[in-house]
Symmetry: C3
Subunit: 429 residues, 3 copies
């Protein structure tokens, strides 16, 4: 009886959980061709860029995030994340309220949340194998979070799960509002499953598949007098924190509809993981600018292999269909012991290699074609902290010069090769 | 003895409480006359506005608030609230330190806090019956919070209570500072009581009266060279999140002194509540602009009735003289039960209707006259969450065109009618 | 066994601690000479300033800080502080991750942290005797915190301690990033000890000595095309919250290297404390502007005496070599007792006097010479709250007019005298 009373009392109280993360980056732009320099030093609106001015190195807080989340009795939840990496311009990340315990193991969430497109975007930045997200995932789901209403569910075994929702296309992370009579909405859905999940080994073996689809209607005719912009645009940085986005279609005039179809796959065998995704994005343009086709087609994907030298594995969360927190067999430590000896533990070490492809050049829009390679070495100190080292090299080709303009780009040029080295120190709590 | 020691130890520790709120808005401007369009599309400084350009719809975070508050042993308290609804420009709300347990049940507070004018402003945005505050309350106490020093007290029975304090007139929510040799101060006080409060029913019946008075001295001669602005101005939005404030006197040149006298009344009979306020605001102008009188008089008020279809009542906090948290008899839920049935609870439902009047047009200042009607339907899911639906319609008349200028307005025009629909989803924790 | 299991479980959990502070300032610029007025009203870039326009009074939040800190098992820590005193431009303060329990009682910290130069800067703003930090400490270590990697350690008795690290010279408190191919780094170190520390009286008597050294390489040739600025600059406000920094070398063209050598001393005898520091700063300039020498030398220091009228003492933290939290013998309170009497406690009262000297004028750079006096009266209400009253007067001489320009200053003028009164109310939690 007492226990019941206690449980009841508990049920009537809100819960609150505080957390955060600190991610610190250094990126060295070691070597870049003249075409890359032009893209990086050119500015939005179309300055030509200086082929001699190579990208500047950067040391920065990548994420300085505070978050607060919890539940409200009996069946609601909330979450609010603020990122202070650029303190003078804080950004909201997750900011929502939701209804839990709905029929069919479902939860309904209203507010700023990740659009369900791209496994690597749905993975937390705390758990991803590489420092920056793949070209295709970031290009077709830039910054992931949008304001929307979405349903999340799964079957009783968590072997088959789904998300579907409707989202506004504008990123409101810095201003918190969408003003405009044009809705710029998109319907997104994702289905996924883990038909093989080796419970007995604690999830050291599993196979994940995922399928995502979206239909979006940007406001391709947004004019200078409108408060909202044309969200018919795909762009991404070169897997590193450059100032400009080196692959960039610009805002495509007359963008009317576009669709995304995404395929996800993870195969995990103990310490080895092989993961790949591909996203197809056809776009229909109404009354396009001169030299641009009515129908455009952009696409891209990646494949990576990662391996723990120290025997750990990448955990997987079945109900969200995403990677989870790695737990080193032994944490890193280096201490003086009482007996005068020095004790140490070396944490977990992981090697990884990724190939990225993205094609944003089609039918007169010259966003560029990227073929990039990333070699990664991760050192996990604790389950909550690690350093990621990424060496990124590759080529961008078929890119227009004024890569950031709002208008269809100039005649394509080969933008050239580059080599970048990045390090990220991270802790979360 | 152990208990005593424990109690002592407790006394010596600071306490800290974390909370927050998420308010999500959608406002549709369904129908507006040309005059309204001119006001909304005209910009500060006096652009004429376009009669064809109707107000844009808006989806926005209305409040994304984090707060931290607590006590410091033995007799001090603090509170700090930051609102990230527009994340790139955070605002402070309450930000103060205070001395508690002073003689006569008094607390003294220094810092950013609400000025004691307008019951509806003193009510928390979490508990108010309507989404936006009444015209008169917001116009004469814009954004409520100012930097000041104020004393709060009550008699032992909490049947008679008071607040008095001195406040700077400038809103420092976004910059946290007042720079200027002119003080722009105002003395504010509020007395209130609840001579009838039905304790036996848990406060289902009560009568609240309140009386507020203020004397303020704006810097009506603030020039371009001064860091501070002239705070002799009254303005408010049309009970909805329009871009511009549709009722607006502008900064009145030469504003020398003004006074506020406010009357409050609540009568609560079970599920029914009838509430009204009226605020009178005479202003004395020294060396007014051409066509403006020496003595101006603005005034406004509202009356509303609200009723719970599901039998709950609006609670009342005697010592603060404000409305409190509604607790639904049954929370909203919709679940699958073990036996295969579906269970549900429907929360609390409340109907409300409000009439608002505000007259900001007098003696050559053409801030406008508003007569607005609001129909509200509130659905409370839990004590911490609800959705508010507000249909707002009415008329603004006798408004100058350049409603946001700093100077006396043009010849009055009838600004016309409008119809707005708004929805607010809210949770707090 | 149970205890062991419990201790182990504890070890595996992250900890999280929340805190903050509210500091409220008022500064009255009672009397200023014409030369001071010219400096305060002149703007960066070199406007001449108006000798008739005296500094404006200011009421402001000096600090509105939230912080979150804790540990991650087993050997890491983190800390994140955000200051909302100017809410529209939040600043990060401490923002780091670190490795603890390293050999030789050492901790390694990466991120935004205080540079180890100037005892008074290393003291928390919560514990300092005077409201604003000494001229020399602030001038040679402006805002203290920089992005860097530093090691903190001490011997087993904590009688001898050290910090050494490398830091970027740019203040990234508001933008969180350093972009630029020039590193602008400095190596800083500090050694300190407390050879006398009277443990038996709880630290009422102690002697602290400290020695700090730094070698820094600013980017004296940073041009308009570079993202980074030339950090070869020393400047500070007049121990009060003026708009401009009244002592200011500007960015010195061609600044190549500079060094800091700092001496610290505290002697505490019960309620009496005598503290002094001196900092020497030679600078080598390459290809200086016309009229500026190749070798410059700036220097300054302060000495203060403080005394508790009520018998308390200023505590000292040996391992950090800084002042700690004052605990009044009796807190301030004023209450009605049950028996009808009024009870009160009067907190702790402290008198203090400081003399400040700073010489930023040398070899054609006319940053100014300051001789300032501060009389302080502190009233501690609780260990967590107090009010500081500071009367500041003195003279600035040999100052160039355009004190904030980026170029060598005009011919020196005597800037004149001034009198300022400031009050700071503070609480922390």
């Amino acid at each position: 009886d007492e226990l019941v009373a206690e449980a009841k009392a508990k049920k009537k109280k809100s819960t609150i959980k505080i957390g955060g993360r600190v991610h610190i980056d250094h990126w060295s732009f070691s070597n870049t061709d003249a075409g890359i320099n032009r893209i990086e030093s050119g500015r939005i609106g179309g300055a030509a860029g200086d082929p001699e001015q190579s990208p500047e190195n950067i040391t920065a807080f990548r994420r300085l995030r505070l978050e607060i989340s919890g539940t409200v009795p009996q069946n609601m939840k909330y979450r609010l994340q603020v990122d202070f990496n650029n303190p003078q311009t804080p950004e909201i990340k997750d900011a929502y309220l939701g209804w839990t315990n709905l029929p069919n193991n479902q939860t309904l969430i209203l507010g700023n949340q990740k659009r369900p497109l791209g496994l690597d975007h749905l993975n937390s930045s705390r758990y991803n194998v590489f420092a920056e997200r793949p070209l295709a995932v970031e290009a077709f789901n830039e910054d992931a979070r949008r304001f929307g209403l979405a349903m999340y569910g799964h079957n009783d075994e968590e072997s088959f799960c789904w998300t579907y929702g409707i989202y506004n296309l504008e990123n409101i992370n810095t201003d918190g509002r969408f003003i405009g009579d044009s809705a710029q909405a998109g319907g997104y859905s994702r289905l996924w499953g883990s038909p093989w999940y080796d419970d007995t080994s604690g999830g050291r073996g599993y196979w994940h598949w995922g399928l995502a689809g979206a239909v979006a209607k940007p406001d391709g005719n947004a004019g200078a007098g409108d408060t909202n912009n044309n969200e018919g645009r795909f762009r991404t940085r070169p897997l590193a924190r450059s100032s400009q986005r080196w692959l960039n279609t610009g805002r495509i005039d007359g963008a009317d509809w576009y669709q995304n179809i995404g395929f996800e796959n993870i195969l995990n065998l103990g310490s080895l993981q092989i993961t790949g995704e591909y996203i197809l994005t056809p776009m229909q343009v109404e009354d396009p600018a001169a030299g641009v086709d009515d129908n455009l087609f952009f696409h891209g994907g990646y494949i990576y292999a990662s391996y723990f030298l120290t025997g750990e594995h990448m955990p997987y969360n079945r109900s969200t269909g995403t990677l989870a927190r790695v737990k080193p067999h032994e944490n890193f430590f280096l201490v003086d012991r009482c007996n005068g000896c020095r004790g140490n533990g070396w944490g977990a070490w992981q090697l990884a290699f990724r190939y990225d492809h993205l094609d944003l050049t089609d039918g007169g829009v010259n966003g560029g074609v990227g073929n990039l390679y990333t070699a990664g070495l991760n050192w996990y100190w604790t389950p909550y902290s690690k350093v990621q080292n990424n060496l990124v090299w590759g080529e961008i080709s078929e890119s227009g010069l004024a890569a950031n303009g709002n208008n269809p780009l100039d005649a394509p040029v080969n933008a050239g090769n580059f080599l970048i080295f990045g390090t990220r120190f991270m802790i979360d709590f």
